[in-house]
Symmetry: C2
Subunit: 277 residues, 2 copies
Amino acid sequence: MLKKQLIMEKALELFSEQGFEATSVQQITDRCGISKGAFYLSFKTKDELVISMVDYYLQQFIIDVDQVVRGTYNKETVLVEFYKSIFQAFKDHSASARVFFNEKVFLTKKELFHKITAYEAEMSKSILYMLEQLYQDQLQETKYDVMYCIKGFMKSYAELFIFSDMPLDLEQLAKSLAEKTDIIAHHTTIPFITADLVPFIAKPCEQDVSKDAVLQLLEQNINHAEDSIEKESIELLKQEIENPTYGKAIIKGLIENLRLDPAYHWIAYVTAKYFNI
Amino acid sequence: MLKKQLIMEKALELFSEQGFEATSVQQITDRCGISKGAFYLSFKTKDELVISMVDYYLQQFIIDVDQVVRGTYNKETVLVEFYKSIFQAFKDHSASARVFFNEKVFLTKKELFHKITAYEAEMSKSILYMLEQLYQDQLQETKYDVMYCIKGFMKSYAELFIFSDMPLDLEQLAKSLAEKTDIIAHHTTIPFITADLVPFIAKPCEQDVSKDAVLQLLEQNINHAEDSIEKESIELLKQEIENPTYGKAIIKGLIENLRLDPAYHWIAYVTAKYFNI
DNA sequence: TATACTAATGACTAATCGGTCATTTGTCAA
DNA sequence: TTGACAAATGACCGATTAGTCATTAGTATA
């Protein structure tokens, strides 16, 4: 498992320097200080490496954003905190941001394109949730437009982090974009993305978390679990899905058990969605 | 010359389907219905093809935007016209937009990265010019931020054109984004990109058009010219650069001669910049 | 020490790449 | 019809690729 992480990190470096197609497995293993054979013990193919990397790096990003959005109860600061966490992530992980967001190296591989699109849709949901909490009914007509503006701000200002390493005042940037977002939200009168357009924009990704998908995810991870608390929590959540027994409090507790370990963040996130918690 | 265009068009199709590195010269020539050898009669290397494509497709885009910005004198409509032309271009050339803007396939090749960055900087200049004309002194502190917002709107909404082919109301989109731009311009109070930050952001590209660069460009194209008017105009402009003689009117006239032929749009654009016309 | 097992190696293969060049094809004027 | 020239071809080359597998190194148990 540690080997996998090493490979993913070094591969990310190389991908961000040279791109995906231009980076050979040999180069990756050289930088890792391992043999080519060892690579194929961790990943069946080069493509599988990339798929794992997308999951590894984008899940973290989505989770961070969602936690800020759902964890900040102060309406005055939630927008600022949102932008701060986004750009802090761009700053800390500029290599993966460059590879996965700005380049869309993987545009061509259908499976990966859908994966990335699905993660982007997750982020859109978090943003929409934030807007609904902030502006409630004031934003009926224009909330999708405001969301698109936010994503545009992100894409545009991310350049500053991705293509240069000059010191930037994150706090000031977050304040500036929060103000812009608030201005747009309050003053926009001409929407473009209307409710009837949304179904066509919504990308081919699971709108809701399906029962089978969650069960499969839990199944996959039940064996990796070493800590007994986590193993038991996963086991119990699996049973709960197949045969609902406990109340919300217990379910939430089990999920929180998982959320404590970064390795289970994603499971916690998805399971919470399934149970609407 | 026609062969070159055929190759560039078919290559663009393949690049947008599979990406640059993943597309082989063989595939390109197969789709063109020519032999591999014939390819190398038109382009010395695969890289040279890509460089030519960047010039061919991005120049058109920059010129279109600049013409709208400088040609629309009605302050009420310039923003709407600007967005309409941008998204019309995205709609008409979604393949090249996908390849050159959204993917940055060429991020890794230094030369190409600088080229694309330079073209983007050209567009930024056009946008800034538009903002200065529209808002004049009202936008001292925040004009760079507004420009970044505009570029963000473009990047975000361009998705709709690039990743789906549903019919969209261009007029409505342009009006909606024009309103958003106007709102941002009027209400923003917290700038992020301040004047002292700009020199660091400005990318390593020729800030002003250098004399030698223009001379070289004219030199290169003097032989391609078939129409005698155009050949003569280029010749005279070259002499004018080396030895200023005529007044603005004559120079502008010579440039306009070139602007009439799409093949010389770019030369006209650059030369006009050199003479500050 | 001997045995059994897994982890790790790197030489190897078959395929594909960008690019070359001797050869063929097509098109003129003579 | 011939000869001269340019346009076009595709077999071929060396280099590189993703992926394999017989072999070796390392480690734990008996």
